[in-house]
Symmetry: D2
C-alpha cells in the first residue's frame, strides 16, 4: 500500500516511550510509521515476535526485526576483547557499544526503505540521544531526526493518558530497576545509581546467585577470539553466550561504573556482565604471556581510546578502522588455553598454556639460574642502562658542589 504520507522509521522497543511515538507520529504528524528493532543479543525470538505484535497493534505501517548479533560481534565486540576494553578499568561498555549498532541498523534500514524521517525515543538526559543523533547525521544526513520524548519533555503519565485516549489501554508497569540486556552485558539503573554513595542491592540484579560450588573451566583462544569453552567448540558469539550461562549464576561480573557522559555530567550505572569480564581477563592473561612489553603497552593505549570513542558514539571516525587494523595485527600469536576458577561473586584466572608462551623454560626462568646470559652480561647491561641518569646526577652534583 503506497500513500502520500511521509515515511518515518521509528526505533521501537515495545516500551511506553516508543509506543507513544507510534501513535504520536501517525496521529499528530500524519506519518506512515515503520517500526524497527535491532537485536544485538538482548532479545529471544519470542520477545522479538511480541515486539512485532505490539508494533502492528499500535498501528505501525510495517515492522522490521533486524538481527545484528553476529555483525555486532564481528565489527565491535571482537575488538573490545582484543583491546581488553574496560572503561575506567571497570565497565565492558555493555550498553554503549550496542547502541551504536542499533543506530547503524536503523540508519541503513531507513535508507533502504526510502524514509524521509527517523524517530527515536531518547530523552534529553543521557548518552543514547547523542549516539543515535550522531550516527544518523553521519550515515544519512538527508534524513530528518525526530525525538518526540526529548522535544516535549513528556512525563510517563502524560504518555499513558495520550495512549489511553487513542485506545491503547494497557498496564504500563514501571519496574523498580531499568534493565538493558545484550550480548556484551546487562546494565542496571535504579534509585541507588542516582546517588554517589549507594551500592545496588542483590535484588536489583536480573540474574540471582544460585551457584555456590567452585568450578574450573577452560577457555580456548585462537588469534584473540574465544573459540572453545571447556569441550564445546563453537562460533565466538555462541561461546560468549554459553560462558555467560555458566558464570552468571555465580553473580560474577557485577559492579557499578561511574563515568563521564558525552554530555559532560557524571553518570553511574550498575551492570552484570559475567562472560565479558571473564573473557577479557582471560584474554588479557594470555596476552601477558604471548606479547612483548611494547605490544602490551600500545594495545592498552589504543584499546582504551577505542573504548572511549565507542562509548561516545564516535564509532564511525575512520581512526577506529585504523585502530582495528592495529588490534588485529597484535592478535597473531594470542592463541592458547586459559584456566579459570569460578566462585560465588568472583573468579580467578589460574594460568595459561600456549605454544607461544614467552615464559618458556628454554630461555631462562625468572629467579632461576639460566644459560642464556651471564652475570657479566647483566653487569654491562645495568651499567649502560644507568648511563643517562648517572650522567644527569653527576653533572648536577658537580654543579651543586661548585
Amino acid at each position: 500500500m503506497s500513500t502520500n504520507k511521509e515515511k518515518v522509521v521509528l526505533a521501537f522497543s515495545g516500551g511506553l516511550d516508543t509506543s507513544y511515538c507510534v501513535k504520536y507520529l501517525s496521529n499528530e504528524k500524519g506519518m506512515d510509521v515503520h517500526t524497527a528493532i535491532v537485536n544485538t543479543g538482548g532479545f529471544t525470538e519470542k520477545e522479538l515476535e511480541e515486539v512485532e505484535m505490539k508494533a502492528m497493534s499500535l498501528g505501525a505501517a510495517s515492522h522490521k526485526t533486524i538481527r545484528q548479533v553476529e555483525t555486532f560481534y564481528q565489527q565491535c565486540v571482537k575488538y573490545l576483547i582484543f583491546g581488553n576494553v574496560l572503561k575506567n578499568n571497570t565497565y565492558p561498555l555493555s550498553v554503549s557499544a550496542e547502541r551504536v549498532f542499533q543506530a547503524v541498523g536503523i540508519a541503513e534500514y531507513a535508507q533502504e526503505v526510502g524514509a524521509t524521517h527517523i524517530a527515536h525515543g531518547s530523552t534529553g538526559a543521557g548518552n543514547d540521544q547523542v549516539r543515535f543523533d550522531m550516527i544518523f547525521h553521519i550515515l544519512c544526513p538527508h534524513i530528518q531526526v525526530i525525538t518526540p520524548i526529548r522535544d516535549m519533555k513528556l512525563s510517563r503519565q502524560e504518555e499513558i493518558d495520550y495512549l489511553a485516549k487513542h485506545g491503547v489501554e494497557k498496564e504500563w508497569a514501571q519496574a523498580k530497576y531499568s534493565i538493558n540486556q545484550g550480548l556484551w552485558g546487562t546494565s542496571v539503573g535504579g534509585e541507588e545509581t542516582l546517588t554517589s554513595n549507594l551500592a545496588l542491592p542483590e535484588e536489583a540484579y536480573p540474574t540471582q546467585v544460585t551457584e555456590t560450588a567452585v568450578k574450573q573451566i577452560t577457555l580456548h583462544f585462537k588469534e584473540g577470539e574465544l573459540v572453545q569453552v571447556n569441550d564445546q567448540k563453537n562460533a565466538p558469539v555462541k561461546n560468549i553466550e554459553y560462558l555467560n550461562a555458566i558464570a552468571a549464576p555465580y553473580g560474577i561480573g557485577r559492579d557499578i561504573h561511574v563515568g563521564d557522559t558525552i554530555i559532560g555530567i557524571k553518570g553511574r550505572v550498575g551492570f552484570e556482565a559475567a562472560a565479558p569480564l571473564i573473557t577479557i581477563k582471560a584474554h588479557h592473561a594470555l596476552e601477558k604471556h604471548t606479547q612483548t612489553k611494547w605490544q602490551q603497552y600500545w594495545k592498552e593505549q589504543l584499546g582504551n581510546w577505542y573504548g572511549m570513542l565507542v562509548h561516545e558514539g564516535q564509532f564511525l571516525d575512520p581512526v577506529m578502522r585504523n585502530i582495528e587494523g592495529f588490534l588485529t595485527e597484535t592478535q597473531e600469536k594470542v592463541s592458547g588455553k586459559v584456566f579459570v576458577t569460578l566462585a560465588p561473586y568472583r573468579f580467578q584466572v589460574d594460568g595459561i598454556e600456549s605454544e607461544n608462551d614467552l615464559m618458556s623454560g628454554d630461555f631462562g626462568k625468572y629467579g632461576e639460574e639460566n644459560l642464556s646470559w651471564s652475570g657479566e652480561d647483566v653487569k654491562g647491561f645495568t651499567k649502560m642502562l644507568a648511563n643517562q641518569t648517572k650522567i644527569y646526577h653527576a653533572i648536577h652534583n658537580k654543579n651543586n658542589n661548585d
Copy 2:
C-alpha cells in the same frame, strides 16, 4: 677501631645468601664488612634486632638498621596511590618499589661511612640485581659493586658448606615459598609461579583466611592521601597498616602477576596486598567522582609510566620527579569518604561522599530531566560533534558514487 682494610657495606637480610657474603667478604677478600638493613615495612623491631645479632655473630665490623618506612611512603607509595598504579592492571609493585628504597638507603649509608665497596646478595636471574646495580651506579659511581652470589653462581649447599667450614653451623631451612614482605604488600614465589598454568595453593599465602563475616568500612582521603580508616585518624603509613590488619584475614588482594622483567624474560609472582588493593580502588573511585575526564585520562598515562619506571629501577630519572609534580597537582580535590564492603576473598567499593563530587544533583542527573540544558542544546551539540566524520563520509560516499 680503624683498620687498613677496605670497607664494604653489605645489604644484609640475615638469610643464607647474605650470611655467606659476610664470611666470604671478610675471609676471602679481607674486607671490613659493615652490614646494613633497610626496613621499608616488612620487619618488626624484634626481627630487626635479630638481624643485627646475626650480623654481629657472623663477624660484621658493624651493623646498621636504616628505618625508611616513612620515606618510602612519602617519596614513592604516595605517588603509587595518586597514580592508582597496578602493573598490568594487577600488581601494586609490592617488591619492586621497596627494592629501590633499600638500594637508595644502602647507597647513602655507604657514602656516609666512606665505603669503597658495596655488596649485595642478588643472583643473576632476577630484577633485583638490576635495581641495586643501577641505583648504585647512579648515586655512588665511585663505589665498586660486588655480587658474590651472582659472580660465583653458588648453590645453596655450597654456601652452607662454606659457612660450616668457617664455624657457622645453623639450620638453614628452605621454606617452600619465598616470601617478601613490606608496607605495600607481600610477594610469594614458589614452584607454581615457575609454571605458566598453576595458581598458588591456599597454604602458600602467609596470611590465612580467618574472617568470614561481611564488614563495611569507611576510608577517608584528603588530597589523595588516606587520612582516616573508620573512626581512626592517623598518619597514612599507620592507616595502611591498620587497613591491612583489618582486610588481610579476608584473603583480599591475592593474585598472580605475570610481567616483563627488566632482563627481558617473563616473570610470574604471587602476592597478597589487601591494603594496597583496597586503597587504590577506593582512591580511584573517588577520583572518578571528583576529576574531569581528561584529568583521569592523563593520570592513567602518567601513573602507568611511573609504575613501569619504578618497577624497572629507573626511579632516579628526573622525569619521575616531573610526573610526581603532575600527580600532586591532580590531587587537589580528591578528598572525601569511600565506602567499602569486605567479604572473604573479595571487596567492593560501594560508593563515595565528597563535597567535590562532580556528580552533583545541582547540575543535572544522568538519565533524569534537568534544568541546565535543553533538548535543543543537545541537538546542536550532536550536530557539531558529528561534523568532521559526517564530512568524511559524505566526501567518500560521493567519491565512491562518481
Copy 3:
C-alpha cells in the same frame, strides 16, 4: 549615572562588527553598553586610545581597557614555550591562545561591574565564538551571552547601512587580508587561505622583508624562560618583543597552518611569528641537551595536548593546571645560551652552551673512545636488550619449523 537599563559588557575592537553591536544593543535592546578591550599584545597605547574614542563616540556608557600582556605570558605563553607547542608541528597558536585570555578578561570585568549580559561580535563560522561562549559559560554561568552578528547573519553592507541610518557615517574600508596581531604572533587570512592549494603572496604579510644580511644572535634561557637576548636582559615579555623586532624584518616565522577547527571543519590560516618560532626552536634545542630521553618524550605528549586544549578553548579544564605543574617541574635545568643565525626567510639554531649540558665530554663523547664503559659492557647490554625479541623469534621459528 545609574539607570534602570540592563547592563551589557561588549567585547569591543573598534571594527565594523563590534561598532554595529554598540548601536544595536543600545538602540534595539535598550541596554547600557559598556565596551571593553583586552590587550594581549596586539595594540599600542595610541591604538588603545583610539579604540576608546570610537567606543565613546558610538554611545558606549563606558569603556574599559584591560591590559593583559603580562598575565597572558605568565598564565599561558610561558607554558607554550615550556611545551614547545606548535600545533601540527607548525602553528604557535598565535590567535587561539589570545582569545582565551580576552574572554577571561571580559568575563571578569563583566562580573566586576555587575553586568547581566555579555556581548561579542563573533560570527557563526569560526573557532572564536566557541572560545568566547565556553569561557563565559564556565566563568559566569549566570550572565547571558548575546551574539548579534551570529544570530542575525548580517552582511557587512547591512551593518554599514544600519550604522549610517543611526548617524555613524564612516569609511569602513575592507582590507584585502584580515590581520590579528598579538604577543605570540600575527595571523593572516585572505582569499588564498580559503583554498587548499594557494600560498599567501608576499604582500599579504604585515611585516615586509627588509633585512638581508645574515646575523647571529644569542638567546639566554633560565629555567625555560627567555631572560636575555644578546646583551639585553629584561622581562620575558620584553625579550619576546625585542626578538621579534630583530627577526620579523627577515620574514622569519611565516607559514600556513591547516588544522581541525573546534566545529569539525578544516581551517587554514597564514601567520607570521618570528619570535615565537625562534624562541620555541631555541628552547627545544636547549632541552635536547639538558633533559633525559623520557623527560622529552612526556613533555612532547603533554605539551601537544596542552596546545590542543588551548586551541579548543578548554583552557579552564583543571587538567591544564596539572599539566602546567608538570611542565614547570621539567624546566629546572633548562638554563643556558642558544646561538641562532638569522637569514632572509629562515633561521638556524647553531648550538647551545649550558652547565647542565648532558653531552658533557666528561662522560664519553658520541663516536669517540671513552673511559666510562667498555666494549664488554655494551656486549652485555645488547645481549639483555635483545632478550625479549630474541625469545619471541626463537619460539616462533621453532613453532614454524615443527
Copy 4:
C-alpha cells in the same frame, strides 16, 4: 674451495676498519673471511664494484653485494613516510634506519652460507654496535659475533701499521668529515658535531649549493606513497632519488640533530636530506587535509614511537609490525598532489589538491557563512562542551564561598 677453517661473514665497507678486519680475521684467527656489503642506497654500481675488488685483494674468501634499496623502502622507509617520522622533530633517521637493514642483510647472508661467526667493524662508542649486535642476537642467536675494533680499542695508526706489515700499503686518507650516505639521507660528522655549540660549515656538506632560482614542483601521492614528481611517474624509490637530485643542490634539508643514543649519552650529528624532508612535510600537509583529527593524533604517537624503535635497533620487536599495520590503514585516503616551492636553503609547502580533501567547500568554509549548521547549533554545542568544566568551577566556587 672448501676448507676446514671457520667461516666468518664480515660486514665490509672498504674503509680502514673493515679492511683491517679482513686481514686480522684471516691471519690471526685463521678464518675464512666472506665479506659482504649491503647497499641501502648509498652506493653506485661502480662503487660497489670497487668495494668488491678491495675485498678480494685483501684476501677475502668471497665477496657478496646485497642490494637492499627496494627492500629498505618497502619494509621501512615507506612507514617512516606514513608516520612523518622526524626524530626530535628534526632528523629523518637517515643512518639509523639503514643500519638495521644492513644488519638484517648480513644476518640472512650468514645463515645462508652457514657461517659460524659474523664480524662487524663498529667501535665501542656509538649506536651502530648496538644495532648490529641486537639484530644478530635475534636473527641468528647461534652465530657468534666478533668485533675486533671494539674489542682491541685500536687506533687508526695501529690499524694502518698492521695492514702495512701484511703487505697492504695504501693511502688511508682521513677525511675531515665522516659521511654516511643512503636512500634516506646523508649524515655528516666532524669536529663541530663533537661540540654542543658549533654549527657545521658549508664545506662540510657533501652537496654544495649550486641552485639559486626559486622553483615550483608538484609531488603526487597515492595512499601515502610518492608515485610521481612533476610529470615523472615512477616507483617510489626512483621518485625519491629524482626529487633528491632536484632539491639537494638548493642546500635543502640540512640540519644538526642532537639526540639520545642507545647507550645513554647525547649524540650530535649533521645531515643533509633534501628528499626525505620535502617528502615528509608534503605528505604531512596532505594528511592534514585528508585525515580526521584523531587519525592525525594517533599517527603522531605511533609514528614517533616507530621512529624511536627503528633508531634504537628494535626493528624486530613485533610491535613494529603492529604499528605498520596501523599506519598502512591510515593511508587509505592520503592521495593527491602537493605543491612545493624550492629556494636556496629552504622550501615551502604551498598547498594541496585532493578529491579526499576534508576542507571541501561543500560543507562550510572556515570563517565564512555556511549552510550546514546554524548559530543556534553552535550555541547548543558550546553549552554542552563547557558542561563538565562549568560544573567543576561551580562546585569549587560554591565550596570556596561556603
